[in-house]
Symmetry: C2
Subunit: 137 residues, 2 copies
Amino acid sequence: MSGELVLRPIARVESTLTSRADAPRQGDEGAPDAWVVFDESVRAALDDLAVGDEIILISWFDRADRDVVTVHPRGDQSRPPTGVFSTRSPDRPNPLGLHRVTVLATDGLRIQVNNLEALDGTPIVDVKPVLGDITDR
Amino acid sequence: MSGELVLRPIARVESTLTSRADAPRQGDEGAPDAWVVFDESVRAALDDLAVGDEIILISWFDRADRDVVTVHPRGDQSRPPTGVFSTRSPDRPNPLGLHRVTVLATDGLRIQVNNLEALDGTPIVDVKPVLGDITDR
């Protein structure tokens, strides 16, 4: 399949997590609060985010192995190798991460969020609201 | 912020939807069933997807305008311009789409899903399972 699609990092994570060995496997498994620091070029895109908003951050796992297509789920060797599209492994052909978090604070180009298992320095490529009921959209 | 991140399309959408004007705004607003046709290189990654699985497709909105940072939500001019990170607009700096769907059928490198509002030909860049309870992971 031909064609390359180019993402621009729009923000970076500032976190106390610095290695995969220390990071929880998912945000709701004990991940810390963290800051997300945006680029000036997306200031207006960010402007309506508010404390309490539930959002989805899309990250780029820059320390992932993109040649991996099967993994033992959760690194458990007793579980059979499983296609990565049935897992949340960061090692996958396009190493995108989905992080459902709540905005805890906003400060200009920075927002603080809870439950973020992405490592310090991880690029963020998009932010989306969690969708509510159809009538609230 | 420097650095470019390159995605490889791993699949394409085959759908009866061919124009943005005809597409529902979200999958649960009347989008049709559609097929997703994968590249041979990711066959093993796909191998454990099964009928009934709830998954998230990540698409690349290849007909989006990446220079847009604010929109009138849902195209409604009576609503004030809103930063795109607080909306699901396909027009955004990195035009990624999130589509929560259910697998209806599998056929080798093809899967059929419900409720997909992506247009025919849209590249798919990742597939992830919807996360269940912590104890089921």
